[in-house]
Every structure is written in C-alpha cells, then in structure tokens.
Symmetry: C2
Subunit: 219 residues, 2 copies
DNA sequence: TATATATTACTGACCGGTCAGTTATAAGGA
DNA sequence: TCCTTATAACTGACCGGTCAGTAATATATA
C-alpha cells in the first residue's frame, strides 16, 4: 500500500516507482472505497493510503470513476479464476467438490475483500451501467457457470437430482453471497449469532437436503 | 407524493397541510434515495418530488441523515407487520404456508420498494450504526423469527425435518432477498434470464428439496 | 568518475462547482 | 392580528480535478 514518505534527511522525500504505483493505488482504493462507498470516498484519502499525492492518482487513472472501475476489475477477477482452475482439476466426487467450493468461496468472501466489493458494487451499480455489465458478465455469470458445471457433473453421476439446473446455481450464489454479507455486517449485533463454521454447515446442509422431511413426496 | 405547486393565478401558491407533509416527504425520499443512494441524493430533489421547497424539509426532519432513517423506518415496518398477521391467522398446512410466504415476500420485494431499500440500506449501513442496529432488530431478526415460526410448525407436524432451525430461516431470507436483487438489477443483461415466476418456483423447489437425488444418505 | 543536461515521476496549492443547512421574508389561516 | 407554515435566496464547507513547479533519476559529455 505504499510506504509513508520518509522525512529523514539523506533519504529522498519520495521515490520514483512507476511500476508499483498502480497496484498500490488500487489496493488503497479498495480500502477507502470499501469503507466509505464510492460517493463518500475522498481521493485525498486514497492518495494518502497509497502513499502518494492526489495529483499522482491522475497520472495513472483518468478519474474517480475509472479508478473505481479498475479497482473492481482488478480485485474480483483473480479470485474467480482461482476457483475455476480448482474445479477443473478436481478429481473427487461432485458432492465433495460442491462442499469444498462452498467452503472455499465462503471463506474468501468473509476473510478478504469480497464482501466489501460486493456491497459497494451493489450500491453503485445503478450509476455505472458499464460496470454493471462487466460485473454481470465477469462475476455473476462466470460464477454461475462454474457452479453449473459442478452440478452437471453430479447429475451425470446420479448424485444430484436433475431438473434443478435453471435455478440451483443462482440459488447457491445467493445463499453464499448474502449469508456472508449478513454474517459480516450484523454478526456484532446478533445475540444468537452463528459462527462462520456453523453458517457454512448450515448452507451445505440446506443446499444439499432442503427442508422437507420426506422429499419423496414431490408436488 | 405531493402535488406540483400551482402557478395559476387565483389558486394559492401553496397550502398549509402539516398533517400530510411528512408522509409525502417520506415517499419522495424513498424514490430519490432509492435512485441515487444516500450520498448522491440531493435534498433539492427530494423537496421537488414532494412538491415543497427545501426549507420545508427542515420543518419536519432534522437533517438528511434523520430523513433517511425515518424513511427506512416508515417504509419497512408496515410490510413486515402485514406478513406477521398473515402467518398468525393462516390455517392451512405449514408447507403450504411456507410456499405462500415465499411467493408473497418475493412479490413484494420485486414489485414495490423493498429491493431499493435493501440495496441502499446495505450500502449505507456502515455509516449509520444506529440505523444498522434498528434494521437488524426490526427487519432481519423479525423476518427470521417469522420464518422460524413457520418452520417450527412444520417440524411439529413432521412435514419439515428437525435440526435445521439454526440456519434454515436465515437461509431462506438470503435466498429470497438476494434472488430478488439479482433479478432486479441484472435481468436486463441476462440472455438466459429467468422470469420472476421461474425464479420463485426455483426458490421453492430448492428450499424444499435441496439438490441431492438421494437425501436419505445423510452425512 | 564527476558534472551538466534532459527527462519524467511526483507534489500540493488552487479553482470552480455542488449541496447541506440557515435565514429573512411572505403567505395562509384562526 | 398574530402565529404557523412555507418559500427562496443565501452561506460556507467540501472535494474532484488541474497544473505550474520541483525533486528524483537517466543520459550525455568531459
């Protein structure tokens, strides 16, 4: 995130590090936009967090908006790509894979920066049609396809029931994203709050079995 | 939402309607905050939408923040209360009640203003700790309790399996809220988009049955 | 290897627009 | 007539974006 500028005599007041600046600024942007949301976030603060001056931001990014877009792009794509290769190289049963994907995804959403991004993006989508399009194509759809692939494998082996394809992947995304968000935002208030581990187990159990006692009786 | 101010000669330029103003302003606030988010929303616009001048807002509300809080309070509580009496007076089977609650809740979230509120609130929660507390207590928890009651009835009759209580209610909230939001924000982009009806059926099917083909084999 | 010169990364004061909140004034109504 | 309700002009803080200038580095020259 950029060293604080040195004030020691002898050391230069700042260094030229054009290769590192963009990433440092993007990291800072994630933090500041994440805390404040787009509109409240001050470029001054992004600059300070990145250890540069405000003018420097404009050497690397065109505007506040474009900085925001670039930040989302940079931070979101890596995570998804990782999950994709995980699925592609996995060799166990589809059910075990599904459980593993749920665990990993939840962990990432809770631990790192994804809930922040999801929250801010969601709040700002209306004002950035271009970003909305990007987010849908590169995040929502891609995640959905990944889950659909896992589900399809399970249907092929007979572990998962067929005919859920239309919604099941969307459902899992929603379950994961929103559960993580609620845990994230409201855990502090919740007297009977679940631990993250309990929440994950709940997601897995619910997603695999549903709530019916006798699911054989289909309607 | 307040009549536009008359400019016809003869008609008074404005009327004193202190009893009606607050609600008109709250309606206007919902629209404007919903479109713009808290930070971007201009009180000028709220005033115009309410058919009053900006100064008038300050006769009824202390500040932008307090207007926002009051708006959320006013708009959210009614909806929940309605569902609560519905559940309390329902006489059919728990399973039918659950399905009905899902349908109604989804319909309300999609048709009216709830997704808007949910989105904006979520985006702004970090900046309004007091509102967050209120929202958690009066919305999240209350909705959860309502669902838990329905589930408990079903467990009692043997229709629902026991032991899901810890998470099942949370899971349904997440599923409903996030599904409605995704439908709302991204339907326009989605080439293979589901209709609302399909989405609801998906939620119901998934929530009742889960994805497993042979749920008997519990782990 | 030291010094002059050119280049480019970076700074921070400043400008202009925006908008929450205030206030002086007017109009309605009992 | 006097109080309440409403208006609209006003203020001042705030912040995105700019740019003239400066500091760090690279290159050329002796």
């Amino acid at each position: 995130m950029g060293e604080p500028r040195s004030t020691l005599p002898g050391t230069p007041r700042w260094q030229r590090r054009p290769a590192d600046r963009p990433d440092e600024i993007l990291d800072a942007a994630l933090v500041v936009f994440g805390e404040a949301g787009f509109a409240r976030a001050k470029l001054e603060d992004v600059a300070r967090a990145a250890g540069v001056s405000k003018g420097t931001l404009y050497l690397y990014f065109d505007s506040k908006e474009s900085l925001f877009r670039e930040m989302v792009r940079a931070k979101v794509v890596a995570a998804l790509a990782e999950s994709e290769t995980y699925v592609r190289t996995y060799e166990g049963s589809p059910r075990a894979l599904l459980v593993e994907i749920i665990r990993r995804t939840y962990a990432r959403m809770r631990g790192e920066q994804m809930t922040t991004i999801a929250r801010v993006v969601q709040g700002e989508l209306g004002h950035f049609p271009e970003l909305a399009r990007f987010y849908f194509d590169e995040v929502i759809l891609r995640a959905r396809r990944l889950i659909e692939e896992v589900l399809a494998r399970g249907v092929a082996t007979g572990e998962f029931r067929p005919g859920t394809a239309g919604f099941a992947a969307r459902g899992l995304s929603s379950l994961l994203v929103h559960t993580a968000q609620v845990q994230c935002f409201f855990h502090a208030f919740d007297p009977h709050g679940l631990t993250d581990e309990q929440a994950i187990e709940g997601v897995i159990d619910l997603y695999l079995h549903g709530v019916l006692a006798h699911p054989a009786e289909r309607t």
